[in-house]
């Protein structure tokens, strides 16, 4: 059975807003997703009834909060096929990747070792590695090719015996491309390299099983999957978490503290210095329950159908050029495009007047724009509450754009 997006819209209070007198059509889900009432209510309930610091305090309330926090961890890790002790709570995918950079790569790798990233990455999977270069770690990138896929040939060429870590996005936030993560992971493992997958654009949109995929590390953000901002996860295999160095020092991450030296708590606490985002974890756990009820395979099917429809409609528009792969099987619901003669920013401004929110610019992935040879793109990205009427609104608003900019053409 397919998703009933029209009914699902009712779960999201923000979608009832109007902008400039028009129905709100939210198509910037790759940036962040809207929150269903159950998540909003859960957050509020936490602060009304359960707020307490965790892992300390012998009173009942503190125990309840700790229990909620750890149950959230178990629930969220199970959602991606991991064990509770393999999930470190972080602010989001960016912090997760930075944690791997500092606590694993910088701490464990040797001068001259290489980290192999790709040209498809969000800045958050490029810049943390660049920051390691002054420490003698090398950085290389797998090339983009074709319609915006990673070149398997180039990957096999660039991976060497010095490649200790391969890091790539599961799904592109610009091109929509879904990478064959297990295939890449196998090549990396055959080479003796560890694998980090940036799941920010995949966990929200498709069934993900980190174990089946073969990821050693997997990063994701809660706010892109109906959860609150400021909470996300780093999945890492237990043996890796064991050998990794702490990320930040402070309370919560220690076992014993002396003035000369301290010992660390067991993972994942070892990586969670300071008071954690307990409310965020509870909210994200609620979001995970919501997604589980819908079934991720149905979410994926829904977005596949929506993307196929949007691609077909966009490509039939005069002057519209769509970027990224065409086959809906190999792409997610992120569609970058341009309208001839209209800068993406101007496009976004005109669409906003029609109540439609899309993103314009570089999407934090400047190398992808460079590869496409454009200074910016417009991007529409879908989620489970989007339906055909949202795409129809987009297409009809593109008519307005042509009316304003095309008059002299």
């Amino acid at each position: 059975m397919s998703l009933d997006a029209e009914r699902l819209k009712e779960d999201f209070p923000i979608l009832r807003r109007t902008f400039h007198g028009k129905r709100f059509v939210y198509l910037d889900n790759a940036a962040t997703t809207q929150k269903p009432s159950c998540v909003i209510d859960r957050l509020s309930e936490f602060y009304r009834l359960y707020n307490s610091n965790v892992h300390r305090g012998a009173y009942t309330l503190a125990e309840e909060a700790t229990d909620l926090y750890e149950k959230s961890r178990a629930n969220i890790s199970a959602f991606i096929g991991g064990k509770p002790e393999e999930l470190v709570f972080v602010r989001g995918a960016t912090e997760a990747i930075n944690m791997v950079a500092y606590s694993y790569a910088l701490a464990k790798l040797e001068k001259g070792d290489t980290i192999l990233s790709t040209e498809m990455e969000h800045h958050s999977n490029i810049v943390p590695w660049q920051l390691l270069q002054p420490h003698g770690l090398r950085l290389d990138f797998v090339k983009l090719s074709g319609k915006g896929e990673l070149s398997l040939e180039d990957f096999k060429e660039k991976i060497t015996r010095r490649t200790k870590l391969v890091t790539f996005t599961h799904a592109s936030n610009v091109l929509g491309t879904i990478n064959p993560a297990s295939e890449f992971a196998k090549i990396a493992h055959d080479n003796g390299s560890k694998v980090l997958v940036d799941g920010a654009q995949s966990v929200p949109h498709m069934p993900v099983d980190v174990r089946e995929m073969g990821a050693d590390f997997y990063a994701f953000s809660g706010h892109k999957m109906l959860g609150p901002m400021g909470i996300g996860g780093l999945y890492a295999k237990s043996d890796l978490l064991e050998e990794m160095a702490p990320f930040q020092g402070g309370g919560e991450m220690i076992k014993e503290v002396g003035l000369d030296a301290s010992t660390w708590a067991e993972p994942p606490q070892k990586f969670e210095a300071g008071t954690p985002n307990v409310a965020g974890s509870v909210g994200l756990s609620e979001a995970v329950d919501y997604l589980r009820r819908l079934e991720m395979s149905r979410v994926r099917e829904h977005e596949k159908r929506l993307s196929a429809y949007a691609l077909q409609e966009l490509e039939s528009q005069e002057g519209v050029r769509v970027f990224g792969p065409r086959d809906p099987e190999r792409r997610g619901g992120v569609i970058s495009f341009e309208v001839k003669g209209v800068h993406p920013h101007d496009l976004a401004t005109i669409l906003d007047r029609e109540g439609i929110a899309i993103r314009s610019g570089l999407h934090c992935a400047q190398p992808v724009a460079d590869w496409l040879g454009v200074s910016a793109t417009a991007r529409a990205s879908f989620y489970l509450y989007n339906d055909h009427t949202d795409i129809d609104s987009l297409i009809s608003a593109l008519g307005m754009v042509r009316k304003i900019f095309g008059r002299r053409a």
Partner: protein, 128 residues
């Protein structure tokens, strides 16, 4: 539709004034608006402390390009000091707009901020 895409802006976007480069300019400076990918290069030829010729090159949204185009017309014949003193109000007035959102103000100010930076650098290198 808001008047942000009114006649003046669209006209200068589609038919910019003084677009291109100046050979051997006194001032040549480029800058980008990284958030959106607007790029602009400003050129100026000076006669003493007066801008004798101003041109721009670049690519970007209608606001940034129209604003740079209008600026080349406005700045011609102005003194370095007067150009450096141009602010948001002046740019909005030049564009014929009452206001812009904070995101779009950056687009509108790109040309003028870049030219001002170039003029300040030029002044600091000038023998007194």
């Amino acid at each position: 539709m808001s008047d942000i895409f009114q006649e003046t802006i669209l006209h200068h976007y589609e038919h910019p004034s003084n677009k291109g480069m100046i050979e051997n300019p006194d001032v040549k400076i480029s800058d980008t608006n990284t958030l959106c990918g607007d790029k602009v290069t400003m050129y100026a030829r000076l006669n003493g402390r007066v801008l004798e010729e101003v041109k721009f090159d670049g690519a970007g949204c209608a606001i940034s390009m129209a604003s740079a185009s209008l600026l080349t017309e406005k700045a011609k014949g102005m003194s370095i000091r007067d150009v450096i003193e141009l602010g948001q109000r002046d740019v909005l007035e030049m564009l014929g707009l009452e206001s812009l959102t904070p995101m779009r103000i950056k687009c509108a100010m790109l040309g003028v901020r870049t030219l001002q930076k170039g003029l300040i650098e030029y002044e600091s290198k000038r023998p007194v």
